[in-house]
């Protein structure tokens, strides 16, 4: 245990002998000068804000209620369509062609 601690101390001593070189004196200046010449990109916050605004147009305030209303309208509309009497009327041309077929094929 004591030996382990000594070894750890030794490693720490080794590590503390490591020194980084001094930062170049002009590094900060170079960074600042390059930044002056570099334009900032359009804020992503603006882009995401615009996107959120657009998406907001499609947001349904009460989705459950809206779904229920859509279902009622859909079912009601469908029921009304099937419940209506068949109002399709045959045109005279259709009647004639039907008669011709019946006569020729000798169906009846």
């Amino acid at each position: 245990m004591h030996d382990e601690q000594n070894k750890d101390k030794d490693i720490d001593q080794w590590l503390s002998m490591r020194h980084a070189p001094q930062t170049p004196d002009d590094l900060a200046d170079r960074i600042v000068h390059r930044a002056v010449r570099t334009p900032q990109r359009a804020s992503r916050a603006f882009a995401s804000g615009l996107f959120q605004e657009m998406a907001g147009l499609f947001i349904v305030p009460r989705p459950a209620f809206a779904l229920a209303v859509c279902l009622v309208i859909g079912v009601g509309g469908g029921w009304m369509t099937t419940a209506l009497p068949d109002t399709t009327t045959q045109t005279s041309a259709e009647t004639t062609s039907f008669d011709v077929i019946v006569m020729e094929e000798d169906w009846i």
Binding site: D10, I11, D12, Q13, W14, H19, Q22, T23, V32, A35
Partner: protein, 196 residues
């Protein structure tokens, strides 16, 4: 005016060059040190620090102080990611530590030579470590970060950082034993005996 890092970061969002200048001058040394320790090369460390600050300048809203983030912790992550990307691109550590740029604290030429040799061994040993162990060691030992902050930078849990540190030290120990190197204590004792 709010001159905290986070306050300056908010001003930078509005294109405030002065705020950027303050932030750069305040932190260049610290981040250059980290980049150098990860890369072992002055020119590359210089590039990484420049790239990191310019990236922040061009896209300042990448950092979100509103979410309670600390600038230094976040920027440590940016710098270490850029440095590690370079290391991966490089595949192997070049072993070309620029000793001339490093401070010599020894008095005699012999001692300077010995120190450089030891630093060379140490650099080689550290750069042989897996990248996350190396990063944990640099953050906790050299940057003086708490395990908690280091965990945030590396993106792992605190236990994982402790384990990375332990494994890093074990790896270094193994390297020194493999190379038959004496510990610095022994070297210093030998030097003292020689001088005495």
């Amino acid at each position: 005016m709010d001159d905290t890092d986070e306050g300056l970061a908010l001003r930078i969002r509005n294109g405030d060059h002065q705020a950027f200048s303050i932030l750069v001058r305040r932190h260049t040394d610290r981040f250059y040190g980290l980049a150098w320790r990860l890369l072992g090369n002055s020119a590359e460390a210089d590039d990484v620090v420049q790239d990191a600050f310019l990236k922040f300048w061009t896209q300042p809203d990448m950092f979100r102080p509103e979410a309670g983030a600390r600038f230094t912790t976040w920027f440590y992550r940016v710098v270490s990611n850029l440095a590690l990307d370079r290391l991966r691109g490089r595949k192997r550590w070049k072993g070309d530590v620029d000793f001339d740029a490093m401070p010599d604290r020894a008095a005699t030429a012999d001692a300077v030579y010995e120190n450089r040799q030891m630093q060379g061994h140490l650099e080689a040993a550290i750069h042989e470590l897996p990248e996350r162990q190396k990063l944990a060691l640099n953050l906790c030992f050299y940057e003086g970060m708490s395990v908690r902050d280091a965990a945030e930078v590396i993106g792992v849990g605190e236990k994982a950082v402790e384990s990375l540190l332990m494994r890093a030290k074990a790896g270094l120990k193994e390297h020194f034993i493999r190379k038959g190197l004496a510990g610095p204590g022994e070297v210093q004792d030998a030097r003292r005996t020689k001088q005495g």
